[in-house]
Amino acid sequence: MTTVRTDPNDITSDPVQPLRRGGPRLLRTAARFRVELVIAFACVLVELLLSTVQSAAISSGNITNIAQSAAPLVIIALGQLLVIVTAGIDLSVGSVFSLTGIIAAAMLNHHVPTGVAVLGAFAAGALCGLVNGVCVAVLGLAPFIVTLVTYSVAASLAFVVTSGNSQPVGSTSFGSINSGHYLGVPNYLLCVIVLVVLLQLVLSGTTQGRWLYAVGSNERAARLIGVPVRGIKLVAYTASGLLAAFAAVLSVSYLANAEATAGNGLELQAIAAVVIGGASLFGGVGSAVSALTGAVLVTVIQNAVNLLGVNSFYQGTITGLVILLAVLAERVTRRSRTRGA
């Protein structure tokens, strides 16, 4: 299956550029991930510019910070991406993140073994996603409304579970989920890398992955071909819920604390990350790498603004404008390529 990824005939996530025939493989892969590369470049640029003012910006400590705070967002954005590729949207991820985090913490505080608590959170997340999937795929309701309802319900249940009290988590075995190492790589980083690589392989190399694009590209045509459209949508929404739970477990393990409001606003951040990375809300376009680069850019900008000590009143303005610049840069490279071609 590893051959799949480097297959030069594999399909680009870029909607606009027909690939030129031939050409070195590296260039073709670069063209395929053009948007992702531009955004990754923007991340590096922000950090480098920042380091001229604040040398601590490119210290290993700060990079670790960025990685640690980006991790949950990347994972949620991956789930979001799966849904967005099918031309759907999942607004519930922020609330599901809160709810599953609270569930895991509450179970741990009732002396449930770590493994069971993690599984419990995963099950809750997958269930939320499944409910979304059933409403969208089987009942044919609009994803925006369905996931807004789940968002509202999950947020409300997150308060119900522990009457709104935040849950400190004492368990060290749970804490080591995030902080542990494997071959010198911290677990949270490992999780992100494995998930991005895995999902990128699934998306570009497996039948089910290609189905996701087929459904988002032309649902009717996909159905006519024989793609199990409902099943694919069910899987996408369920995976999104599950990944939100995964992110919640990592985050609660890191913070040793769960709150009913922990995920507030994460849904918009995740959608923004995916779209900044180059996916289209109309479906059929996007890659796991795009979710990664988009989420990292969002985190890097936040970090830069904090490091520069920008007056917090102006932070939103600065953050917004930098994102706009990055997206414009992406747009300009697309233009010039089209002109040149």
């Binding site: 640690q68 705070s69 709104g164 009290n165 606003g265 904090n306 917090s312």
Partner: protein
Amino acid sequence: QDSNSAAQGQAKTVKGLKLAYLAPSLDISYWQWVYSGVRQEARKHGIKVTQYNANNSPGAQLANIKTAIAAGAKMIVIGPVSSTSTPPVLAAAKAAKVPISFAGIGPQPGATDYTSAITADNHRTGVEEGSFVCKQAKQRGGNKVGMLSLPQDRENAQKYLRGARKSFSREGCKLVQILQARTLTVSEAVSQTNDLLTAHPDITGIYGMYDAAGTGAAKVLKTRRLVGKIALATADGSPTTVALLKEGTLQGLFLQEAVGQGTQAVTQDVNAMLGKPTTRNIPLSEPLVTTRSLNSPDSQKVLRRTYPSSAGPYN
């Protein structure tokens, strides 16, 4: 039936009457603890309580009070979205002849049509916490301090800040950075503390303005092995921060007596209903509890007035 049969000062008993508790939002447990104080006191009088959530929107808050009155509430306790958002609320309560008491945040200055306002003295607490953090910071060999602030659109945040600045300038500390929360979550406080320490590695004190700030900053200090090297104090207080205080990661907590505010507010409303005298303004201080004083009976009493036992252990 006359909807005003139990109007202010006319009632023989408040038993069986309805009371509405209007919270500005449920994002902060503080308002849940006020609610718990409200219920504690209401149970004593046989009053039924309904909670309404404004989600920080003044529009929703006004809709809520009107709904509450339509649903038959005869007394109101409100934690308003902001002081300036209160005039139409007071007008609605006055029109319905319903006593209204404030908890946590008071009415707009100059307003008179309310029963009582039980508020924390944020400015004074700001001064005290600023002084505490500054002293602790200087003990650690520096005078630079960072702040994890509530969103500065809240007047309690502005009062805290003004108070803290006063102490800092008086006692020679430098406030090098203010990071404002948006979502008030622990993870936000963690990233902000990380960024604060990256940008200003030389600070020796952190001023927290809300509970999650204490939790988040403590988490970072522990991870970076800076516990004790950087002083940390915060306002509010919850089982989580009390535990951190106990283990010494946090040096001071300025407790807002949420439960106490709730019980006081109901008491004042009931007095108004029964025609007994009421107190217009009850400013409560935010007592300091330190690692050392935590187990004293006084501190334990303060803790009980801060959050309900259902929220977690006191020590």
